[in-house]
């Protein structure tokens, strides 16, 4: 009688024949994803894909719902990280070297201008797309119910984006940089001081001195290349993780539910499942309800591989092509920093011109008070908006007041930026854009 004696020892010939397959298997823990099991395993077992869900709702893939704005912002952050690290190989944060290195890049270093331009325009685009993404989330009511706190994290990410941009444009140490630090640190000086400190502690913590110089440059450099990117990257991770825990992107409830009697409504994700086997299970403390379907997936869900990954790739490639195209335009560089004389007019990049316009009315309220109130107001939106309707719909009818207020606010900011860009001339006086022209950032 034949008794199973275990797997026979393979011969050297067999071992060598299996070696390539074994080697590939030792790297990848899954087979090529040409079937559903491997499509789920590749997302589950691959480190670089595992922050995705295995399946996602068809609605999340609709390019006319999300417009890909979040993916584009993330792509820009990745491009900024890579180009930024490349630029760090040359950049030295000293007063007498920083500007010369920027100049040298123009003539002596192949591709340096390409990377600097990419970095520069990606930064500007990131500010733009973060605001567009924020508006998309607002107009679709996506900050409601379980996603309240993710909106708050998004507001923090917006502030971090602006801080990264600010600390970034200081590093070339040209006129723009020097006077931006001067003005920025003076705004910080309007934040109330801690009693008992001789100089305003907020200002000194930024400048390491009472006036702008070498000590300030190294601080802004460390903030720009280490502190703020790490914080931003971590919060982006939390932002994504919370999207997954909230059951994907916001969407309206499914219109068609396959079999109402057998549908399991999961209280935490609001997914509706297709009918499963007619048996009752109780997966204690894992799934609420008594009949989780075992042979069918959630209704209207598709595999991440390839659908979601393809959408992300399209967003990334779109961003990359856009940034590469823009990198043909040279990033501006003003004259070297001159502590004696600010340029006239002395203008910040466009995204800070609204702030500059407000600061031109009152330093404390324009530079500290109103921006703080604006950020706090943004964070409070999900807790103030008690309307439960409209989650997952663009411009839902019941949200006319919220949509109106947001649009008015954003238009007001845009008007301030346009005024700051085109209607302000020498000594920040009012001009008409067709009479005079100035360098714009």
């Amino acid at each position: 009688m034949a008794v199973y004696q275990g797997k026979p020892r393979e011969s050297w010939a067999e071992y060598l024949a299996n070696l390539p397959a074994m080697f590939v298997r030792s790297i990848f823990r899954h087979n090529y994803p040409n079937n559903d099991v491997d499509r789920s395993e590749i997302v589950f077992k691959n480190f670089f894909l595992h922050f995705h869900p295995v399946k996602c709702h068809k609605h999340s893939l609709d390019p006319f719902y999300t417009l890909g704005l979040g993916s584009i912002s993330t792509s820009l952050f990745l491009i900024l990280t890579v180009t930024g690290i490349i630029l760090m190989f040359y950049y030295i944060p000293t007063e007498d070297r920083a500007y010369d290195i920027m100049k040298d890049w123009q003539d002596t270093t192949p591709f340096a201008m390409m990377f600097r331009n990419m970095h520069r325009w990606s930064a500007h685009l990131m500010v733009l797309f973060v605001f567009l993404h924020m508006s998309r989330v607002f107009y679709t009511g996506s900050y409601k119910s379980t996603r309240k706190f993710n909106w708050v994290i998004g507001v923090i990410l917006m502030v971090l984006t602006l801080l990264l941009s600010f600390t970034g444009y200081l590093l070339p140490w040209d006129q723009l940089a020097f006077w931006a630090i001067t003005v920025g640190s003076n705004i910080a000086g309007y934040v109330p001081n801690i009693p008992g400190f001789e100089y305003n502690v907020n200002r000194v913590m930024l400048l390491a001195s009472t006036n702008v110089g070498q000590d300030a440059l190294i601080r802004f450099y460390v903030l720009h290349v280490a502190f703020l990117p790490l914080l931003t990257g971590t919060l982006i991770g939390v932002h994504f993780w919370r999207i997954r825990k909230d059951g994907g992107l916001s969407r309206p409830p499914d219109k068609f539910r396959p079999d109402p009697l057998r549908v399991v409504q999961r209280a935490d994700t609001k997914e509706s499942f297709a009918p499963g086997v007619k048996r009752t299970y109780g997966l204690m403390e894992l799934v609420r309800g008594t009949c989780p379907t075992v042979d069918k997936g959630p209704y209207n869900f598709v595999f991440t591989w390839p659908h979601l990954l393809r959408a992300e790739l399209v967003a990334f490639l779109f961003t990359l092509v856009l940034v590469l195209g823009l990198s043909l335009i040279n990033a501006p560089l003003e004259e070297p920093a001159n502590p004696i004389k600010p340029p006239n007019p002395s203008k910040a990049p466009w995204y800070f011109l609204g702030l500059q316009e407000m600061v031109a009315y009152n330093a404390f309220w324009g530079g500290v008070g109103i921006p703080t109130l604006m950020v706090l107001g943004f964070m409070l939106i999900p807790y103030l908006d008690r309307n439960p309707h409209g989650e997952g719909y663009w411009f839902h009818r019941s949200r006319y007041l919220a949509i109106f207020l947001w649009t008015v606010f954003m238009t007001f900011q845009a008007i301030l930026i346009v005024i700051g860009t085109y209607f302000r001339g020498a000594n920040w006086g009012w001009i008409w854009p067709w009479t005079e022209t100035f360098a714009r950032h």
Partner: protein, 170 residues
């Protein structure tokens, strides 16, 4: 209180405290330790980022020999010290050129001074007349130093434009 809590079996009528006294006290202790550690980290950061010795330019500086100043008339911008040096019939007075709003260097214009960054305007005495500037431009005390140079002391200021004059001849 049951030994193992089961989230699916929550009885609203039970007197089961949500957290035991033992856990509460333990968390209080751990929380106090963490808070203390965070305070130490915060204080060390604050102290580390606020140095005791900073590179601050000296508050007393020279603006030249008296005969040099006497040889000219009118208001001249001194870029190194960011001050306006005004000479008139043997007298001199020194006024700051740093905008009181956010620290840009102001420009001389027909009506007085004007700031290029946010549009603050001052009259010819340095009184803030428009824009966001909260305070007027101050005058600094002028004196004759031991070396014979005319010295300016930035730590002693005045707003009185008549008393700010320093007689070079006397």
């Amino acid at each position: 209180m049951p030994k193992h809590r089961n989230t699916l079996n929550t009885d609203p009528d039970s007197n089961d405290p949500k957290i035991s006294r033992r856990s509460f006290l333990a968390m209080l202790g751990v929380g106090a330790c963490l808070l203390g550690a965070a305070q130490m980290v915060n204080l060390s950061f604050l102290g580390f980022l606020y140095p005791n010795a900073m590179k601050i330019p000296p508050s007393v500086f020279s603006i030249g020999r008296p005969e040099e100043l006497l040889s000219r008339e009118g208001k001249i911008f001194n870029p190194k010290q960011k001050v306006f040096v005004e000479t008139q019939s043997g007298k001199v007075r020194v006024q700051t050129a740093v905008c009181t709003h956010l620290g840009c260097t102001v420009n001389m214009v027909d009506t007085g001074y004007s700031c290029p960054c946010h549009g603050s305007t001052y009259d010819r005495y340095g009184r803030n007349t428009g824009g966001p500037a909260p305070l007027p431009l101050v005058y600094f005390e002028v004196s004759k130093g031991a070396s014979g140079d005319i010295m300016v002391n930035k730590s002693k200021t005045t707003l009185d434009w008549d008393k700010a004059w320093f007689n070079l001849i006397g």
